[in-house]
């Protein structure tokens, strides 16, 4: 995400949640516009060039999904993160089907929200057509689906490769457990066990074991971040 393209539109009617959202996004270096109703969201969306739009589903005037549809009809392609108190799968599916790019259920952690906004913002950048991804001394060959560090192959199961690829694609950004479940396993619920940690633990042993420096870092209470030192 380029510096000039860090504008976010937050559509949220609850004042306190809105304040918290705006503040935490601003702290992370975004410019934030706030709309507290569907109509305001529509007028702001039409004028501003946003990297990401977050929309609360339950708005006082127009339903969040309807607002999103109008955006899409008006040719506004900015990725939309639906934030909703309606958490069940049906609502989620409806939201995503209507053109949402991601879905976050209230209450959420702001770190999780930031991680998702970051990931969405990245998607709106130009898609890089690379066949080899590199972070530090780690190289992922997307064609042969193999990973290596300093030229030494790392033996990974297909799913482990997928997980590592997702972490690499989000290099330097926090990736939550829910995001991993969603993007690596296509699961939209929280198994609320430490299963993801155990799984990432094994990938980490394979990737970081006996290496000069670790690449996969745990972000306490949130998830993981893959980054090279320096």
């Amino acid at each position: 995400m380029t510096g000039g393209h860090r504008r976010i539109l937050v559509v949220e009617d609850d004042p306190e949640t809105a304040d918290q959202l705006v503040e935490s996004l601003k702290t992370s270096g975004y410019q934030v516009d706030l709309a507290t109703s569907g109509n305001e969201a529509l007028s702001r969306g039409a004028t501003g060039d946003y990297a990401v739009i977050t929309i609360d589903r339950m708005l006082p005037d127009i339903d969040g999904i309807a607002v999103m549809r109008r955006f899409r009809d008006d040719g506004i392609a900015a990725p939309v993160l639906i934030v909703s108190a309606l958490g069940e799968v049906d609502d989620r599916v409806r939201g995503l089907r209507a053109g949402g790019d991601d879905y976050l259920v209230k209450p959420f952690s702001f770190v999780e929200l930031l991680a998702r906004v970051e990931a969405l913002g990245r998607r709106s950048d130009t898609i890089v057509k690379e066949t080899i991804l590199r972070v530090g001394d780690l190289a992922l060959d997307l064609m042969s689906r193999t990973a290596s560090r300093r030229g030494k192959d790392i033996v990974l199961f297909p799913r482990e490769f997928q997980l590592l690829e997702y972490l690499v694609r989000n290099e330097g950004r926090v990736v939550s457990r829910a995001m991993l479940l969603q993007h690596v396993w296509d699961l939209h619920f929280d198994p609320s066990t430490n299963i993801i940690d155990v799984y990432v633990g094994r990938v980490r042993r394979k990737v970081d074991g006996q290496q000069a420096y670790p690449l996969i870092h745990t972000v306490r209470g949130t998830g993981y971040c893959l980054r090279a030192p320096g």
Binding site: T17, A85, G87, E88, V93, W185, I195, G221
Partner: protein, 436 residues
């Protein structure tokens, strides 16, 4: 199957009682008709015999033995008395006149009625005409027999008897067949209601009992049951709506609360102790939220609200993915986790729920199985239905707790810090719901 149900049904038993009662009455009426008809026919012939006997008797009294002999000979020669039999015998039973040459051996009584076969005794007695005669003895001890050939009358009575018996048999037969047909129809309707009830018990409230449009009592029963089901479904929906509303209303303040705590946690001027305190509070708050989600999810599953997300999924593929996900966890405790069996087991269901259900059971199996043991996830097709089983080689569930583990939130042992909703009950229930 249906025939067995028909024969054991109470309707059929009632029909049998009705047939029995009706049959006894019909038999009694027919028997009365038979008896009175044959009695009437017999009495007419008897009256004719008596008249003839009396006229011969008066001839005897008027003109003695010789006069009677003359009269008898006159009668036997006359064609209009061809059906009649006559015999006049002396006291030593030697016939003096009449068309019966030999005095019947059975006619020993001084007077009264006898029935006998004419001619010599022979094996084919039935071919000889049956005669009925009146006996009398005059004061001179001469004996007179006047009778008639009643073979035809007897044949007529036999015909009536045959008609009556076949009538009764036919009535029983028709009544039997009719009652089986009626009972089958009744049992069929009840069975369709039963089948729907079973389907409702197994897969939810969206089924209805089919109506035949006959507006009979069965249609009315079905209509009422369907209305009852509609009502129950509405109520369940309302309950779910309430829990959804509660869930939604709680989510906003909880979001604010979590936001404040997070802000405080990342605040600059707080001590490490305070930060730990807030961190723990956030963790607990998240746990509360998960319990809360579990509850609403179970409510949704039980009211079938998630059917919207149902599509054809491959159970075996999901099982494979679960095994893949839990492989690392199994490896950690030295458990050998494998998936075996068919590669394809298609079911209609919600992928997330099925995944969650299998994951729950695998998670349980790894945690409660033997350390360094085996956990096997097997996909099979039994009777064309996909079945998935998760087995460990640990101590297992005690037999007396088999029923208990299907109860919501039940766990074999209490573990501190355990979260409800992770017990076997939701998983079993979900597995049951989804794997059809």
């Amino acid at each position: 199957m249906l025939l067995a149900k028909t024969l054991t049904s109470s309707t059929f038993r009632l029909a049998l009682i009705a047939i029995g009662t009706f049959g006894v009455i019909v038999s009694a009426i027919f028997s009365y008709v038979y008896l009175s008809t044959s009695a009437y026919v017999r009495s007419r012939s008897d009256r004719a015999i008596v008249t003839e006997y009396l006229s011969l008797k008066s001839a005897y009294e008027r003109s003695g033995r010789d006069g009677l002999i003359a009269l008898i000979e006159e009668r036997t020669a006359d064609g209009s008395f061809a059906d009649n039999v006559y015999a006049l015998a002396d006291p030593s039973l030697v016939t003096l006149a009449g068309n019966l040459k030999i005095w019947p051996s059975t006619a020993t009584a001084a007077e009264g009625w006898i029935e006998f076969r004419a001619g010599e005794p022979s094996p084919n007695a039935a071919n000889r005409p049956l005669l009925r005669a009146m006996l009398g003895t005059f004061p001179s001890r001469d004996r007179l027999l006047v009778g008639k050939d009643i073979s035809e009358l007897d044949g007529f009575a036999d015909q009536i008897k045959t008609a009556v018996i076949s009538g009764i048999v036919l009535i029983f037969l028709l009544a039997g067949v009719a009652s089986i047909l009626v009972t089958r129809r009744t049992v069929g309707r009840i069975e369709s209601i039963n089948a729907t009830s079973r389907a409702i018990m197994q897969s939810g409230l969206d089924q209805r009992i089919p109506l035949r449009g006959t507006h009979d009592e069965w249609d009315r029963v079905a209509e009422n049951l369907n209305q009852m089901l509609n009502r129950i479904e509405t109520l369940m929906g309302e309950v779910r709506q309430v829990s959804d509303n509660v869930a939604h209303d709680l989510r906003t303040p909880l979001t604010r609360m979590r936001g404040r705590l997070e802000k405080a946690y990342h605040g600059q001027r707080i001590s490490a102790d305070d930060q730990a305190l807030i961190g723990d509070t956030i963790t607990d708050l998240d746990a509360v939220l998960r319990i809360f989600s579990s509850l609403t999810r179970i409510a949704q599953i039980e009211t079938q609200a998630r059917k919207g997300a149902f599509r054809t999924v491959n159970l075996a593929e999901i099982a494979g993915e679960v095994v893949e996900l839990y492989d690392a966890a199994a490896e950690q405790v030295g458990t050998h986790l494998t998936v075996v069996g068919d590669r394809e087991a298609l079911v209609t269901g919600d992928r997330d729920l099925i995944f969650d259900a299998i994951a729950n059971l695998v998670d349980n199996a790894i945690k409660h199985g033997r350390t360094g043991g085996q956990v096997v996830v097997a996909n099979e097709n039994i009777d064309g239905k996909p079945v998935i089983s998760i087995a460990d080689d640990g101590p297992g569930i005690p037999a007396h707790e088999y029923e208990q583990v299907f109860k919501r939130f039940y766990r074999l042992e209490k573990r501190s810090g355990a979260q409800p909703g992770r017990g076997r009950r939701p998983s079993s229930r979900r597995a049951d719901r989804n794997a059809r």
